[in-house]
């Protein structure tokens, strides 16, 4: 086995077919990662807590979607259930537990989150069982892949990229243009002043946490047809999301998007050129960003 295979990488870059396949493959990995990472970064930007239990929402999204899909047979309802279910879960989790540790020691926040990582995993084990599950691809997407310029693109992944992009646009515009977006940005900068102006910051905090949970749940629901479902499945996604937020800058939505896409592309092209070092490449990139720009590529104070 050759550790570095630059020939394979070069010949892929020269062939449109390979370029299309690997780029879409990178986009899929990146977009799912973006949905998880953006929730993480949003929650950090506004609430100033690092939600280590964020992977659990991804997991719940996948399990909710699978259950609803099995009950109703409707894929649209399944996605909706994944997103809505985790939003409600996020709201409850924030109001009952996380709201108690705001402004406290980081260790305290970490402990609460970590405790819930374990609790949520066990809850999933109790409800759905310890063995892995598979949701199965909806019949509408059980079709041969598309061939674009000779490259292979599965239709389901086009949907996936579309939904994630739509979420990114709605989120970005919503925060920049809408009234609620302004209030959220204001609460991120100066929660005391926002509260003094008669706005219920508790509601804002709960809402942002629910939104973050919903995005992770949406990612889980979208991933459910192609990834196996197990208790603890959120963990590896969480690690990569952290890399994304570190690269993109904590609190930056654009940063999360760029960071996630970069990680996706590094994985897809890295596996050709550096088959034994694909994981390492991701971390190496993170180190380079950290050294040259410690706040991340787009890291400012808040979103």
């Amino acid at each position: 086995m050759i550790p570095v295979d630059l020939d394979a990488l070069a010949s892929c870059l020269a062939s449109p077919a390979c370029l299309v396949t690997q780029t879409t493959s990178g986009l899929i990995i990146g977009m799912l990662l973006f949905l998880v990472a953006v929730g993480l970064t949003l929650i950090f930007g506004v609430l100033k807590v690092v939600n280590f239990s964020h992977g659990a929402f991804y997991m719940f999204g996948a399990y909710f979607a699978m259950t609803v899909y099995q009950l109703t047979g409707s894929f649209a309802l399944a996605i909706l259930a994944g997103a809505a279910g985790t939003a409600i879960l996020g709201l409850i989790f924030e109001r009952v537990f996380m709201s108690r540790v705001y402004g406290r020691d980081v260790l305290m926040q970490l402990l609460v989150c970590y405790a819930f990582v374990l609790i949520f995993d066990d809850v999933v084990r109790m409800i759905w069982g310890p063995e892995f599950k598979s949701m199965g691809m909806p019949a509408a997407f059980q079709v041969p892949p598309l061939f674009i310029a000779g490259g292979v693109v599965p239709p389901y992944y086009l949907l996936l990229i579309g939904v994630a992009l739509a979420a990114a646009v709605v989120l970005g515009l919503g925060l920049a243009r809408s009234r609620i977006g302004k209030v959220i940005r204001a609460a991120a900068q100066n929660p005391g002043m926002v509260s003094a102006l008669g706005i219920n910051t508790g509601l804002i905090y709960g809402g942002v946490f629910a939104l973050g949970g919903m995005l992770a749940g949406l990612a889980g629901a979208l991933a459910a047809p192609v990834r196996s479902l197990t208790p603890g499945m959120g963990f590896s996604v969480l690690i990569e999301s952290f890399i994304v937020t570190v690269i993109g800058g904590m609190g930056s939505i654009l940063g999360a998007l760029i960071g996630a896409l970069l990680i996706g592309l590094i994985r897809s092209f890295g596996s050709l050129g550096f088959p034994l070092f694909t994981e390492g490449l991701m971390y190496l990139f993170m180190v380079i960003v950290l050294v040259s720009r410690p706040t991340g590529l787009f890291g400012k104070e808040v979103a």
Binding site: M1, A8, C12, C18, T21, Q22, S25, G26, I28, I29, L32, R125, P130, E131, F132, K133, S134, M135, G136, M137, F141, Q142, P144, P145, V152, P154, P155, Y156, Y157, A223, P225, V226, R227, S228, L229, T230, P231, G232, M233, S236, V237, R267, S268, G270, S271, L272, P275, L276, T278, E279
Partner: protein, 419 residues
């Protein structure tokens, strides 16, 4: 004033008690050997991502133990299983194994650990001299390497090297018939994945010399997404793909490769596909994946095997796993050996177990043997076939030939310096 002795424990009896205590703590299974029930300890993995390994092992053990107890127990002693969760951590497995013997008074061990933990439990068995049967570890070196050999430990498990020989023989036959020369591999990046794939390729090239491996992928164990691996294999355009991914990783891989129509573009050989845990979970199982038998109730196609699979399903509402048949076989071996030895003494049982052949629903010819020279299971049903999306999943399994396995295994042992 005379000193009067207070009623109570005298110095002499205290000493005697302490002596007895010391003996009890040093070798508790000796002191408790006369207990009516016989405790058998079992460290295994009951939580975490591979919890199914432990639960399906435990289920099978309990199914068989109930039968033995109903028939009067081991030499008249009812079996009491003490099963503990090691969480898949080797140091925890070793600690639990030691505790089971020293504190709980277990007289025998069933080691339901994966390869990593089984080597740790093996050292405990070496240290304590307690009878130990490994029931889940497929790593060949556990019994093939003479350095590992101890008189009181046995392995009642299929073995990596056997699977590689049979799998490669089967694959080479198809490679020759269909002209499959360009191969790719995709296996998890840890000892099992690397060793098994290496051995498979070695024998494949031996049986079909013009085979060439043009692409290798080594995804991480438990990696959630394989898209980049799938597309990389598509780019390489091999004629056949070998994989020893297993469990949830294998089902993820199939779901993700399916939407790229990978299975229509090459022949796929996935040694761990034909296990009910994977077969029943994959919703859109492609037709025609070549797989080794893990456990399937239709192979060997005997009424005994089918009845056993159905009995398990009736009791636990799911089909048994590969680990299930191995654990059940271990209990069958113990039962037969104790009967023959007419004793539950670990040493005597170990002597009888060495070279013992028993009737067994999972035997290639209705029997399995605990081979005398390396204390490992041989003669079990082993074969390959192709999948269909519904029961019986692998309708036609081609059985491997044990004569060939023995010949090549002996050569392999020699090449490794084991004999």
């Amino acid at each position: 004033m005379t000193r009067t002795r207070k009623p109570g424990i005298s110095r002499r009896s205290t000493l005697a008690l302490m002596g007895a205590g010391a003996v009890t703590f040093a070798a508790p299974w000796v002191a408790r050997a006369q207990a009516k029930t016989i405790k058998i300890g079992m460290p295994t993995i009951l939580s975490g991502r591979v919890a199914q390994l432990g639960t399906s092992s435990r289920n099978a053990v309990m199914l068989e133990v109930e039968k033995v107890n109903a028939a009067g127990g081991l030499a008249g002693r009812q079996i009491e299983m003490v099963i503990r969760d090691s969480k898949g951590q080797p140091q925890e497995a070793a600690r639990i194994a030691r505790e089971l013997v020293n504190t709980d008074g277990c007289e025998m061990l069933l080691d339901g650990e994966a390869s990593s933990g089984s080597f740790a439990v093996h050292e405990v068995a070496r240290d304590l001299g307690v009878l130990c049967i490994h029931t889940c570890s497929e790593a060949s070196s556990l019994t093939a390497d003479p350095k590992q050999h101890i008189p009181n430990a046995f392995r009642c498990v299929r073995q990596g090297i056997h699977d590689s020989i049979v799998g490669a023989g089967y694959a080479a036959g198809i490679a020759k018939a269909k002209g499959l020369k360009k191969w790719a591999t995709c296996s998890p990046d840890y000892a099992y994945g690397r060793d098994t794939t290496g051995e498979f390729v070695l024998y494949l090239k031996k049986f079909a010399p013009d085979v060439e491996v043009i692409s290798e992928s080594w995804p991480k164990l438990f990696q959630p997404d394989y898209t980049e691996v799938v597309t990389k294999i598509l780019q390489a355009k091999p004629q056949a793909l070998y994989s020893c991914l297993w469990g949830g990783d294998l089902t993820s891989y199939i779901d993700q490769a399916n939407i790229y129509a990978l299975f229509t573009q090459m022949e796929v050989f996935a040694v761990n596909m034909a296990d009910y845990t994977a077969l029943t979970v994959v919703k859109n199982l492609p037709k025609g994946i070549h797989s080794g038998d893990r456990y399937i109730k239709t192979f060997p196609a005997t009424p005994e095997n089918a009845a056993w699979g159905d009995a398990y399903k009736a009791k636990y509402n799911e089909y048994p796993t590969n680990w299930s048949w191995q654990n059940a076989t271990a209990v069958m071996f113990l039962n037969e050996a104790v009967k023959k030895a007419n004793s539950t003494d670990g040493k005597k049982v170990a002597e009888v177990l060495t070279g013992l052949t028993i009737k067994c629903p999972f035997g290639a010819d209705g029997t399995v043997t605990m081979r005398a020279d390396d204390h490992t299971l041989v003669g079990y049903a082993i074969g390959w076939g192709t999948t269909i999306p519904q029961e019986p999943y692998v309708p036609d399994v081609k059985a491997g030939d044990w004569k060939t396995i023995f010949e090549l295994e002996a050569e392999w042992k020699k090449s490794k310096g084991y004999t």
